[in-house]
Amino acid sequence: MLGLKRIRWPVQIRRRALRQLLLARAIRRRKQLRPVIDRTHMIGKRDILAFVTLRNERVRLPYFLKYYRNLGVDHFLIVDNDSDDGSNSYLASQEDVSLWYTNASYKKSRFGMDWINWLLFRFGHTHWCLTVDPDEFLIYPHWDTRPLHALTSWMQATGSRSVSGMLLDMYPKGAVDGQIYREGQNPFDIARWFDPANYTIQKNRFYQNLWIQGGPRTRTFFADNPLSGPALNKIPLVKWNRRFVYVSSTHMLLPKGLNQVYDEDGGETFSGCLLHAKFLSTFATKSAEELDRKQHYSNSQEYHAYHAGLQSGTQLWCEESREYRDWRQLEELGLISRGNWA
């Protein structure tokens, strides 16, 4: 039609077109969301908001909510994708949660990002917004003494609009399902180990973000094909504007300036990391279920690999794994950095 596809559009125009397309898509998909309980009128002017999509995560929720409340999140905006384990009623009873329900396809909504983009568009404008999964726990330099509000006010003062938080896969020693995870428990009492230094970085020219791969998942489940290992770069915390949009999970955003969370002249900017508590006892059932639903990224290739790996008793732990101590350890290893946040 009109031969538009044949023209090689300038990259700025392609980026803008993509951003507007994704935004339009998110706005259209809002109809898939049915509010269960809407407490958004309680959101204050300077509140930090958390945006979550989840399905059947009941056992994780108490600790998740407690953790982020402690860190200073003021309101949670959650999309429940057809849970049947009581997540829905549990969340609805929480005072600081606004909940939406949908039974639409996770995959067709770009793995939940259309829903999240809509909620961000509608409620996130001018707020600092944290977009995480229920198994991702943000830590950053000084997080134990300085809550999120301290971080966001510092970021604001330095003129940064987004904070990088690479995904750090945590795993237990021994079999993944060797220790049962109980409700309310700190998942990192069990999954205490991580890979210290096997991350590869490439720069994506179109989005200007860094593409990070590696870690235990690539090492074990993608040993034969490390190039298709999962991406670990994430930008979970953003001072939102309704013009912004997440492109693929929270790996990258548009406009591209938000992805430039790194320094290219040798210096270090501030970065935290998302401790990923995926590999707990809940994982085995989850991976079997997700395989049936086929709702995950690139035909659930990841879950196939996990499932095969778990069947054959693959362990994630190895001699070179490090035991998690605190953020200072991660900073020393060079996984996160305080930048100039003294």
Partner: protein, 562 residues
């Protein structure tokens, strides 16, 4: 309160009035008279709650509210008005301290008064000539005083920059009023009432005000300059601890700074993050039995700040991560530690790796950039730091791979290299001052010699490897090389391998035992013959050198033929 010193405080508040009210209470409780200036931008509601919070406190006056914007004269105007009002209301004041609503007194006010009483005529104000000042950010030192700055930097950045450039281009410059010499310094000061009165009542004040109205960031220069006209004695150091980052933004103070701040013995520090409840509860320290007049020691806090400034601007050498991904040649250290590369030695001596690991205190790897697998020391399936042995994963980001290996291990890393390996790092290593290389060119011909492949294959592989190594040597011989490279061709090396190895290893590992025994060498017999055959087939061997042992079988063949 100290008899000699009656302290007045000017408190400039523009945001977060809750903290500011807390500070005003601290000052007033310590016995100081407080003049509060609230920015005209603050909403009436906040002002009302501020005043309610302070209604029980005496000795507080509110001065006319000016609309202040950063870097403009309005800040000086607010200070002047407040100072005038303070001195008029409380004529017995001897010293006036200027601070903001987020400046936290660390030591009791009584200490401060006692300290000021040590030398009651002294003015504590940082005041350095604009010419010598080293700390301004943005490059505007003297130009602050010689150009016109009518536009707001925050609101009209483009106009500001354009107008500045315009003036530079057309060499427009202002005349500095006679009798003053521009000085700069921290905007937080403590002046004696005499000096301050002299500045405010200066007969030429109108002229000076007019001049400073169009200079850049006058709050850092107005009092700092004029104090030089009137003060009998200046201690050119601010009593307020205020640190700025590389971009000129003030650092904030949090709960975890308590120990560092306490060790500085400073009187006042800024700027406090309003949520730092523990910090606000901890300071100021309670009044002791005797006033403590010890001097501020900033060094500990300075180190803390300088460390993070260095981390922000220079980063950690050899680190590639989510928030540090330097462009080529902007790395400030391509790798973190020295490392050693041996090229050709493992071809010459098949047991070189084991031999070397017995010889030096280091991790001796095989060909970690090799084509089949990453040959870590001991050939584990998972390398140090859980690095992969899979070459696909390594070749996705070879630079990051090498840097991570060097960074994660504690000992010196040594590895073998050859033209068969991944050459992606040739430039990287050659331009890295941490790299030490011992290169024996042409040694890769020996494994070929013993490969028993058909001659056609040997010729093809030989051509390939020779081309690769020639390309690498072009890099190693370029003018950009920062690595320490010892290069020999095979013939040269074989003349005295022991002393070459000794000379190479000594600076790397001074403790290493001198090389006496050499590992077993691959036999050279047939090499000359192979080279001759290659030459005769049209491929010129260029890297083995001309000092190779003569072809013993060559002569024999000739005689047989004749």
């Amino acid at each position: 309160m100290n008899r000699q010193v009656r302290l007045g405080v000017i408190l400039l508040c523009h945001s977060d009035l809750d903290t500011a009210a807390h500070m005003a209470q601290i000052w007033a409780k310590g016995g100081a008279r407080v003049a509060v200036h609230i920015d005209a931008k603050v909403t009436d509601k906040s002002v009302r709650s501020f005043k309610t919070a302070l209604q029980d406190v005496d000795d507080i006056i509110y001065t006319p509210r000016t609309r202040c914007s950063w870097g403009r004269f309005s800040l000086v105007k607010a200070t002047q008005d407040a100072a005038g009002a303070l001195l008029a209301q409380f004529p017995d004041i001897t010293h006036v301290y200027l601070c903001s609503g987020s400046c936290l007194p660390l030591r009791p006010i009584a200490d401060l008064c006692a300290y000021l009483a040590l030398d009651p005529r002294c003015d504590h104000i940082e005041s350095v000539t604009a010419h010598d000042v080293g700390w301004t950010v943005g490059g505007l030192n003297e130009e602050r005083f010689t150009l016109y700055f009518p536009f707001d930097w925050r609101k009209r950045r483009r106009l500001f920059d354009r107008f500045t450039n315009f003036q530079r281009r057309y060499k427009i410059s202002r005349r500095i009023p006679k009798g003053i010499w521009p000085h700069l310094g921290s905007q937080w000061w403590c002046l004696t009432a005499t000096t301050l009165r002299a500045i405010l009542n200066d007969p030429r004040r109108k002229e000076f005000d007019r001049y400073f109205r169009l200079s850049w960031i006058p709050d850092e220069s107005y009092f700092q300059t004029l104090v030089r006209r009137h003060s009998p004695k200046i201690e050119s150091r601010s009593l307020t601890l205020a640190k700025f980052d590389h971009a000129g933004r003030p650092y904030q103070l949090y709960d975890d700074h308590i120990a560092a701040l306490a060790s500085t013995y400073c009187f006042v520090a800024r700027k406090v993050w309003p949520g730092a409840a523990k910090l606000l509860a901890h300071f100021p320290r309670p009044v002791g039995d005797y006033p403590d007049v010890s001097l501020p020691q900033r060094s500990r806090f300075d180190t803390l700040i300088n460390d993070v400034v260095r981390r922000r601007t220079l980063g950690r050498p050899g680190l590639y991560m989510q928030s540090r991904f330097p462009k080529k040649d902007a790395e400030n250290g391509k790798t973190s530690e020295p490392y050693v590369l041996f090229q050709g030695l493992s071809d010459l001596y098949p047991g070189f790796e084991t031999w070397l690991s017995r010889h030096v205190q280091a991790d001796v790897h095989g060909h970690i950039l090799g084509p089949e697998m990453v040959e870590f020391k001991g050939r584990p399936v998972i390398g140090p730091g859980a690095l992969p042995t899979n070459i696909l994963a390594r070749d996705r980001d070879p630079k990051g791979f090498l840097a991570a290996l060097i960074r994660i291990t504690n000992r010196t890393q040594m590895f073998q290299f050859s033209p068969r390996d991944n050459q992606a790092l040739s430039w990287f290593m050659a331009t890295d001052p941490n790299a030490r290389m011992l290169v024996v060119t042409g040694a890769w011909a020996l494994p070929l010699l013993h490969s028993e492949m058909p001659f056609d294959d040997i010729r093809r592989v030989f051509a390939l490897l020779q081309r690769t190594e020639l390309e690498q040597l072009a890099i190693l011989n370029s003018v950009w090389v920062k690595a320490r490279v010892d290069m020999y061709d095979l013939g040269d090396f074989l003349v005295s391998p022991r002393s070459i190895l000794n000379d190479f290893l000594r600076p790397i590992d001074p403790q290493a035992r001198p090389v006496i025994d050499m590992p077993e060498m691959r036999s050279l017999s047939g090499l000359a013959r192979m080279l001759r055959q290659l030459r005769n087939s049209g491929l010129q061997p260029r890297l083995t050198g001309d000092k190779l042992p003569p072809a013993e079988d060559f002569l024999a063949e000739r005689t047989a033929a004749e």
